[in-house]
Symmetry: C2
Subunit: 189 residues, 2 copies
Amino acid sequence: MDVVHAEDTRTRLLGTALRLFTEHGVEGTSLQMIADALGVTKAAVYYHFKTKAEITESVAEPVLRELEGIVDDARAQRTRGAQIDHLLDGFVDLVVRHRALVALFSSDPGIARAVEKSVHSSESFKNRLLEVLVGPDPDLTAIVTAQVLLAGIAIAGGSPEVAPLDDETLRETLLGVGRKLYNRPRRRT
Amino acid sequence: MDVVHAEDTRTRLLGTALRLFTEHGVEGTSLQMIADALGVTKAAVYYHFKTKAEITESVAEPVLRELEGIVDDARAQRTRGAQIDHLLDGFVDLVVRHRALVALFSSDPGIARAVEKSVHSSESFKNRLLEVLVGPDPDLTAIVTAQVLLAGIAIAGGSPEVAPLDDETLRETLLGVGRKLYNRPRRRT
DNA sequence: GTCTATAGCGCGATAGAC
DNA sequence: GTCTATCGCGCTATAGAC
């Protein structure tokens, strides 16, 4: 009935946009392509989102929200070791499950700008994330290590070379690299 | 003399393009902006380069050439340990010296495409680079580790957070992270 | 509230005069 | 070697049909 159809358009649009973004990149995807895939006109797309940037932000938002949840959960752990383990597990799992989108995050300035904006809106978010990894003591090596880890895992996880790997294998492999960098022994059985 | 002026235009154009690219990104830099900065018209720019992609490729080329030299030098080392040390030192040094451009490499699809193209043109190049790090034995963990390392160092080295660091400090810190991932003890005095 | 039709402006790119 | 003129297309914007 109409309910199904009506509230669907915006959601369908985001789904279609995500698919096209991962196929052609953000800049390689025109509003016309999105409109055509939905069977509507450009102006109809423009009715739901004021700008193209607003679309990219809406596409990226759920994953960023999820990441915020992971950081909060990690901070709630009692020991520093448990905090690092929790963040590592959660971050790797997030990257693996959303490989295609994460690859976009790290290689497309369209999405990158959206992420920057969202991260800056809750100003303290990035600091909170890094703080879990580097601890309250701001050591230079620790900061750079954390950045190498986060960027490396995100990019390697989204790279075409690891695309053939199944989720479980990729997750375990990335986790192994992360644990090594942080001197955390394997915890799984 | 006219010689100074004549052969200068193409070089000046590349320098100006690089500056504008690092300021506004590749996609954020129009041919009009480049032309205006040089005091000529768009069409004049087109005389020197057939397409915008050709400009980005020419901007990226010197650094890629340098990286090829580093890989070749590394492969010429006698022991695997020396090969890894050489590549690590060379790669980190390259990233640090060309921070701004490397940041573009890893965050802008315009440059990324140019790099892809150049890397694919000498098809074996990327394989040769990875082979130095993973050895002749293709182990899954080693491959992912190498990717995390290369991507992490490149992105962390170009990130705004480390911009205030001087070259020497950044180089030593990135090297430390790399050595840790590869179980290589510090070699410097 | 949802969409179509239409137009403005800037972009990369090309053709051809000087 | 540099210019003017022009093209097609992409994002944005508005007016108005349903």
